[in-house]
Every structure is written in structure tokens, then in C-alpha cells.
Point group: C2
Chain length 336, copies 2
């Protein structure tokens, strides 16, 4: 039995979509158990709408909720009975293998580090965002955990990201690229120039060199390594540009009677193609390098993303990702 704690109170669509996602996950796998954290009465009422194997979903009461705007450090310290803190304590105490939340990124980040705790040797646990590309999906890390990183941090991101993409997403020998402003080796800022030769010497990753931002949507690398400020800019611009363009395309299609008729004919095919440009099938953003797994889904996550995130945790545990990360830290020591 793999046990996944799920924050039933976090995100824009809680608890409805979260619980629907949990029910869906247990219908897909009978060897998992979901522990929902949140207000007991609320969750019970919601769960009663579904039929599911009772022994696979359990409620762990948590009376408080951390809101998105709250200063994270304070929130984690003060709201001991919040759905996030209770869920993370389940991982810490070994009662759950992983924790999934659509709640406050800041609180998840802080809680992950201070409650769940880092694997010994991991300097900075990065957020790895799974972003859609023309070829499938890439892992962008650090996508927002710790700004102003050092070269040694980026090296660990590359190693942990490679392990994740190979064993959780299933891409053999994932190509690792470092975000840069050109592909020539003399290009870059101080951080990239210092990190580049270290990555080149890494024996256990498939480093393919610099990747320019324009190659990211084309799937130019499977693991995209960068400092968190850059990573967060990439992630947010990616989402913003995609939504703006789709908005413009829709506006264009609705602008005349002729185009409206055309839109009706185009819609099913377009929907099908755009579905391929969507990473939610791979689950949420893993916070890597912790004792246990913490996954952040979009704040707007619907049931399907929640369900996929739970399954993602199961694969993470089955593939012994943390054991593999520990192994790679040993290689790191030998390399130095």
C-alpha cells in the first residue's frame, strides 16, 4: 500500500475537485490509500456524493486553512492544524509517502523544507515544473523555490531532474540543457559560465549544453536547468503567452458570422491538437530533494490533475526516486 496525503482544502476548486480527483485515483489503482486533510464534516459531505472503496480513502482532520496571500513562514509556524501542516506531518512521521496540494506555493515550499526536511546532502530543494512542448513534456527546474542559486545548486537540479524524468516520466537518458542567451560556450552570465563546465564533467547525466529560451516550446531539452528567478519568469511567461494567444485566436474566430461558422467546423480538431500541448496528464510540480515527495498542483487544478498527481506520487515511490537521488549524491562526492 502506497499512502498519499492530499490537501483537500487548497486551491481554487477545493474541496470539490480535489475529492473528485482522489476518488478517481483510487478507482485507477487498488494498491494505494489517499489521506485527505481538511475539515471533517465538509469532506465527509463531499465524499458522500461518490461511491468508492471505503478503505482506500481516509479523512485526517485539520481545522485550519492557509490562504494564498499569507506570509508563508508565519503561516506554517502558527497554523499547526492547517491542511498543509497536517499533511506534511503525515509524511514526516512516515504515515504517508507523499503529499499533494493545490494550496499556497510559498507555504508548500517552506513546509517542505522545515517539516518534511531535506535529504542529507541536498542543498536547495527545487520546484520542478512539468511544461508542455511540441514533443511531449520537459521538466523546468528550479521553477521558483530559491532565487540567487549557486553553481553547485544547479548541478544538483540537473541530477535530480534527470532521475525524475527518466524514472517517473519515462524518458531514457533525458537531455539536460542549461538556459542561456546563446549556444556558444562563451555566452552567458556569471552563474551560467561557472556552472557550464561543471555540468560538462558530470558523468551521470546527459548534458547537451546551452538551450535558448526559444527552443523550450520545441522540446529542445528534457531537463531544463536554471536559477529560480529565471525559471519562474519562464514558467509564468509560458502560461501567460499561451493563454493570451488562445484568447486572441478565439476572438478572431468570433469576429464575423463567416468565421463563427468556420470555428464550429474547426473546433473538434483544434481541441484534439491542443490537448497534446497540456502537461496536466503528468501531474503537478514536484519539490525535489525532500525526505518524501511533495507535489504542488496548479491553484486552478481540476480533478484530472489531482488524480494524475496522486498517481505521480505512486510512481515516485515505486521507482525509489529518493534512494536514487541519495545514490547520485554519492557520485557527486566522488566527482568532486
Amino acid at each position: 500500500m502506497i499512502k498519499v496525503a492530499v490537501d483537500a482544502m487548497g486551491g481554487d476548486n477545493a474541496p470539490g475537485e480535489i475529492i473528485k480527483g482522489a476518488v478517481d485515483a483510487v478507482s485507477r489503482r487498488n494498491d494505494i490509500q489517499v489521506l485527505l486533510t481538511g475539515r471533517k464534516e465538509v469532506l465527509e459531505a463531499e465524499l458522500n456524493k461518490f461511491s468508492y472503496p471505503r478503505e482506500q480513502i481516509q479523512i485526517v482532520p485539520a481545522s485550519e486553512v492557509i490562504e494564498t496571500g499569507e506570509p508563508p513562514v508565519n503561516a506554517i509556524r502558527k497554523k499547526k492544524d492547517s491542511s498543509i501542516v497536517v499533511g506534511m506531518n503525515l509524511v514526516k512521521n512516515g504515515q504517508a509517502d507523499a503529499f499533494v496540494s493545490a494550496g499556497s506555493s510559498g507555504a508548500i515550499l517552506v513546509g517542505g523544507q522545515v517539516i518534511v526536511g531535506r535529504i542529507k546532502g541536498v542543498e536547495r530543494p527545487p520546484f520542478g515544473a512539468l511544461i508542455p512542448t511540441e514533443k511531449g513534456v520537459s521538466l523546468l527546474l528550479d521553477s521558483g523555490a530559491n532565487v540567487d542559486a549557486r553553481p553547485s545548486h544547479l548541478l544538483q537540479f540537473a541530477r535530480m531532474g534527470s532521475i525524475y524524468m527518466e524514472h517517473v516520466v519515462g524518458i531514457p537518458h533525458p537531455r539536460v540543457g542549461i538556459v542561456n542567451v546563446g549556444v556558444e560556450e562563451e555566452k552567458g552570465n556569471a552563474l551560467v559560465k561557472e556552472t557550464f563546465p561543471l555540468l560538462k564533467e558530470c558523468s551521470d547525466i546527459n548534458f547537451t549544453g546551452s538551450i535558448e529560451a526559444r527552443e523550450i516550446p520545441h522540446g529542445g531539452a528534457d531537463v531544463i536547468v536554471c536559477e529560480a528567478f529565471t525559471g519562474n519568469v519562464i514558467l509564468k511567461l509560458y502560461e501567460g503567452t499561451a493563454s493570451t494567444l488562445m484568447h486572441i485566436v478565439k476572438k478572431g474566430m468570433m469576429s464575423s458570422l463567416r468565421s463563427k461558422i468556420g470555428a464550429l467546423l474547426v473546433k473538434p480538431a483544434l481541441k484534439e491538437t491542443l490537448k497534446s500541448f497540456d502537461a496536466t496528464q503528468y501531474g503537478g510540480a514536484p519539490l525535489l530533494g525532500l525526505k518524501g515527495l511533495v507535489v504542488k498542483t496548479h491553484g486552478s487544478a481540476k480533478a484530472v490533475e489531482v488524480s494524475n498527481s496522486i498517481i505521480q506520487c505512486v510512481t515516485f515511490k515505486e521507482q525509489k526516486i529518493n534512494e536514487k537521488i541519495q545514490e547520485s549524491l554519492k557520485t557527486e562526492k566522488q566527482d568532486l
Copy 2:
């Protein structure tokens, strides 16, 4: 007479589209003169295809061409008779007010600094890229000139960008935003945290605070200030995501007979709407803070972008932008 030197040999579509653009520009304004730099015979043969007021276009011979891949510092030093070096010398010697090129960004940047030279007091001339948004256009700077900037550089970007957007593009009191990973004041990396209070104290700009990357396509600020590594990532990702998405949309539309018929009906309206999401009407990317103006167009620029870039130089000169920049440097001194 305003004189604009134009590199007739730079970019993917030289000399054909460059010359077509020059001819178009002189047909729009009779108070300008274009000085084309490049191989005399080639340019003459090309010019003979058009009829235009002869006195408005002049060829200034240059026998060499700097290729995109060449190391810029070396190229500028060695290729004294290249279309870029000859064009920049025209600006330096006061024979031209501005220089437009679709050639090597690196060479344009180096040449701008060492041949044309900086305005006294300008620390680092930034590339300002004009990027399309839902609301019109924003100026992103520094979009790639000098990585690892200091707070004082960003302050100058904000000032010069404001002057440009107000007087060349025509946006009164342009909103200045600094790229950040959140809108709360405690967010950011070391550079942003240090720069933020300085921008807040600037009396001559309309600073509106942090802008998250996802707000850029929505037109969240008119002047978007950031360090060049981040700026270059934004610019390239923006272009890459837009082209990838349009490719996916087209693929979807062509995937069945039904959708193909729909695409025919949708096409004219879609084309019209997408035209609004295009910044080439505003010209190329100005390299700001030089004695004279240097404008870099896309390497793939067609005649319309070249023509608009020439007109952009005219406005720049007419609006006395460099005089205004010098004035603002005095304000800067008073502020310190």
C-alpha cells in the same frame, strides 16, 4: 533633412527586402535621406528595379559583410570596410543621424559602443525590444545587451525607456514595471530588491511596481525593466511560444476535411486579429543611450519592418530623444 544609414547587406533577406524597405520609407517622407551601405554594384542593380526620388537614396560603398556567427569584437576591429562599420562611422562623423541593421546583434552592440559611443553618463546602453501585447506594444529593456547589470543600470533603463515610449511610440506617462517573481515588495532576487526602492524614488518616471512575467502579454506595463539575461530569455521565449502555438493551431486546422473547410472560413478574420499582435509596425529594437541612434531589426526582417525602422529613426531625431536623455541624466544627479 534627416539622414538614416541603412545596412543593405545584413539579415536573411538582404539586400532585396532592405532596399525595398528603403524605397518605401522615402516614398512616405520627402524630408529624409537614406544612405545604403554595402557592395555598390549589388545595390545599384537592386535599386534599378524601383523608381524613387534619386536624391533621397544614396549608396555608400562597403566591400565587406560581417556574418552572424563571427565573434563581434574581432569582426568590428578587422572588417573596417563592412556595411556595419561603414554605417556606424557615418553616425559617428555626423553624416547620418541614425543607423539601421538586420545584421549580427553582437556586432551591432559592440560597434554601437565602440564606434558610435555612449552619451556621457550612460553606463550601459540597453537593447530595447518592442514586443506586442493585447493592448499594443511594450518596450522590454535590457533585452540582451549586457548581462549581470547593477541597480544603477536598471534605473537608467527605466528613464531612457520612459522617454522612448512617451516620445517615439506616443504613450503618455508610460507605466514602468520591473520584472519580478511576485508583486509583493519582499519578493525578488538581490538585484530586484536593491533596485525597487531606487525606482520608487525616481521623480521623473511613472513606476508602477513589480510585473510578473504572465502579465507581459496582457500589456501589464509599457516599459518593462530587467537585467539582460532575463530580458533575452523573455524575448526569445515570447517569440518561441507564439510561433509554436500558431504552428499547433495550424496543424489542428489541417487535420481533417471538416477542419480544413472551417479553416478557410476562419482565416481572414484570424489574420486580421493576429495582425494586432505584431510589433513590426513600430520598427526594430533601439540600442539606447548612444550618441545617435542604432536600431536592430529582426534578422528575418521584411521591407515593412525596415521601412518602419527608418521612420522610427526620424521620429527619434525629431523628438530630440538624446537631448531628453541627457536632461534626465541631470535629474538623476540631482536625485542622488
